[in-house]
Symmetry: C2
Subunit: 359 residues, 2 copies
C-alpha cells in the first residue's frame, strides 16, 4: 500500500470515538465507569483502527513488563545434551503467547554470574516474574528474589534445609514461592524395584551434582528402596551431568572388584555414555550390565540397546509453571500444583542379572 499507516495510538482511538483517552483506557481494561453503549463504541473503533496498546508505554506507567524470565545456570555443553529445557520452554511458550507475554531467557555458565543477571532483570524491570529451575540446597536465589521483590514459581518444592531450620525463624517454614511439583521419587523407586526384581543386588547410582535438590531427592528415594530390600546403597557417584562424567564414573565403577551389575544414571546422556563404556570393556548390555537413565529423551528409544528410563513431562511442567506465574501475579498468590508423577519406561537396557562367567 502507498500510505504508510502509522500504528494507531490510544489518542487516535479517543479522537475517532469522540471521548477522552482516559475513558478509552477504562473501556479497554474492562473497568467500571463506562456506559455499555460508549464501551461498545470505543471497542468498535479500536478494532476498526487495529489498535494495539504499546507495551513500552504500558510498562512505563504500570511498572510491569509483561514478560517472564528464565535464567539457566548450566554449561552450554550440558544444556545441549539435556532435552529438559527445550521442552520446558516450549510448554511455557504455549501459554505465554496466548497471553501476550514474552519470555526473556538468560543462559549463564557459572552460578556466580547468576545473581547479577537476576539483579539486572529486576533493576531494569525486564520481567514481572521468573521460573526457578534446578533448585539447589539452601538456594541463594530464594533469598535474593525475596530481597528483590520478584515473584517466582519454583519447579519442585524447595526442601527445608538443616541450615534454614537452625537459622532465623523467619526464614524457616514453607517456601515463599508457589511450586509446580512433579514427583520423581516414585519413578525412581519403581526403577530401583524393577532392578531388584530382576535379581540385581549390586546397583550403582550415578547422580547429578549433590547441591541440586532433585539429585539428592532422587538419590534418597533410590537408596530407600534398596535399603528396604536389604541391598547396599553405597555405590553412589556424583557427576556434573555431562556425558563425559557419566563415562568416567562408569569406568571407575566397572573397575571395582565387586563391580555393580546395574547402574542407574541421573540423565539419559550419561546412561548412553555408560553403555558405550560397557561395550568398550567387552560387557554386554543388559546381559552383563543393566543400565537405566532419567528423563526419557527421544534418543532413549533408539540407542542400542534401547534405554530404560524414567519419564517426566517437561512440556506440561512448563505449561503449569507459566499458568501459575500468571495466577500469582493476577491474584497475589497461587496454590502449589501436583503434576502426574514420573514413571518408569522399561526397555531393553535392563535385564535379569546373570552371574558373570569370569566371576
Amino acid at each position: 500500500m502507498a500510505t504508510m499507516k502509522r500504528k494507531a495510538t490510544i489518542n487516535d482511538v479517543a479522537r475517532v470515538a469522540g471521548v477522552s483517552k482516559g475513558l478509552v483506557s477504562f473501556a479497554l481494561n474492562d473497568r467500571p465507569g463506562v456506559s455499555a453503549e460508549t464501551r461498545d463504541r470505543i471497542l468498535a473503533v479500536a478494532r476498526e483502527l487495529d489498535y494495539r496498546p504499546s507495551v513500552s508505554a504500558r510498562s512505563l506507567s504500570t511498572r510491569t513488563s509483561y514478560a517472564f524470565g528464565l535464567v539457566i545456570a548450566r554449561d552450554p555443553e550440558i544444556l545441549g545434551a539435556d532435552p529438559f529445557f527445550p521442552s520446558f520452554i516450549a510448554g511455557v511458550e504455549r501459554v505465554l503467547t496466548t497471553e501476550g507475554r514474552a519470555l526473556v531467557l538468560s543462559v549463564v555458565s557459572d552460578e556466580q554470574h547468576e545473581a547479577t543477571v537476576y539483579r539486572t532483570l529486576a533493576a531494569d524491570a525486564r520481567v514481572d516474574g521468573v521460573f526457578l529451575t534446578d533448585l539447589r540446597h539452601d538456594d541463594p536465589r530464594l533469598a535474593l528474589l525475596q530481597e528483590l521483590g520478584m515473584p517466582a514459581v519454583t519447579l519442585g518444592r524447595p526442601a527445608t534445609s538443616r541450615a534454614q531450620e537452625s537459622a532465623d525463624p523467619s526464614l524457616t517454614g514453607p517456601s515463599p514461592f508457589p511450586a509446580v511439583v512433579l514427583d520423581d521419587t516414585e519413578g525412581v523407586a519403581a526403577l530401583a524395584q524393577h532392578l531388584l526384581d530382576l535379581g540385581h543386588r549390586r546397583i550403582a547410582h550415578v547422580t547429578g551434582p549433590r547441591r541440586m535438590q532433585h539429585a539428592t531427592r532422587r538419590g534418597e528415594a533410590f537408596a530407600r528402596t534398596l535399603d528396604a530390600a536389604g541391598v547396599a546403597s553405597d555405590l553412589v557417584l556424583e557427576t556434573d551431568f555431562t556425558a563425559a562424567a557419566g563415562a568416567s564414573a562408569t569406568d571407575r565403577l566397572l573397575a571395582l572388584a565387586d563391580a555393580p551389575t546395574a547402574i542407574v544414571y541421573g540423565n539419559d546422556p550419561m546412561a548412553i555414555a555408560g553403555i558405550g563404556i560397557a561395550h568398550e570393556r567387552g560387557l554386554r548390555v543388559p546381559d552383563d550390565l543393566s543400565v537405566a537413565g532419567f528423563d526419557d529423551s527421544e534418543l532413549a528409544r533408539y540407542v542400542y540397546p534401547s534405554l530404560t528410563s524414567v519419564r517426566t513431562d517437561p512440556l506440561s511442567w512448563g505449561e503449569s509453571a507459566a499458568r501459575m506465574l500468571l495466577r500469582l501475579l493476577a491474584e497475589g498468590h497461587a496454590d502449589d500444583i501436583e503434576l502426574e508423577p514420573a514413571h518408569v519406561v522399561v526397555r531393553a537396557s535392563t535385564g535379569p542379572v546373570r552371574t558373570r562367567a569370569t566371576a
Copy 2:
C-alpha cells in the same frame, strides 16, 4: 536496611547535580554540548545515587526495546535432541549481557504460527532485531521481516532461489540482511572423501528437511564429492531430523538389495539411532556399516562406537551473530562474517569397507 530507597531517576540525578534533566541525559549518552567539568559532576552523582536508566522509559521515548529476538520453529522433541540451539543461545547471551540487552525467545512448533509471532514481536516493539536460523528455501521470513522493517541477521547466506531469480527483480540479488556464514560444505565434502578413501562405494545420505537450505547445501556438497569420484550419489533420504526418522530411514536403507556400506546423517541423534538399528539387524559398526553424524554433539564422543561427525561451533556462531546485530543497529549496516569452516572429526564409527560374508 530500614529505609526502603526507591530507585533513583534521572530527575534525582538532575536535582542533586543542580542541572536540568535534559543535560543529564546528554551527559549519560556521551553527547556533545556538555562541559567536561559538568559531565564529570553528573556522572559522579549518577554513580553516587546508583542511577540506572529505566529501560521502559527509554524504550518509550526512543522506540527501542534493547532486546533481540529468536524465534525457533521446531518441534520441542527435535529441539531437545539437537545441541545446536542451547550452545548458540549461550553464545548470543555472552555478548548481550555485557551490552545490557536481553534475549526474547519464542518456540513455536509449526511454521504457520511463526509469522504471527514475528508480527507480534514487531507490533509490540518487543525486540529491535532478530536472529534468523534454519534458513529455508524461498524463506517467507525474509520478505516478512522486510515488510515489518525488522532488522535481522541470518545464520548462513540465503541462497538466491529459482523462484526469486524469475520473479520481481527487486527481490533478486543479495540478501537484505547481513549473514554470519559458517561453511559446512567443506566439512561434508571432507567427510565424503574420508569414506571414499576407506573404500566405500555405496554411500547413503540421510538429510534433514529439504526445504532447509543447510540440508540441501550439504546434500549438494556431498553429492558433488561422490560424483567427482565416479560414485553414485542417489541414495538420499529426507527426514525431519528426529531420531525416529533416522531410525526408520536406516531400516529402509539396510533392507535394500544393494544396501549402503556407509551412511551419513544430517545430525548426531539420527546417526546414533542409525547405529542402534544397525546393531539390531546384527550388523557391526564400522565393520559392516560405517556411520557418521553432523554437529559433533558431546554425546558423539561417548556412544559406542564413538561417532565420526562434522564439527561446527555454535557458540561462536551465536557470539558473532549477536555482535553483528548490534553493529547493524548501531551503524545501519554490517558486513558478512565468515567463521572458521566446519571440519570432520574422525572417530570409531567409520572404517574401511569390508565385503560382506553373505554378499
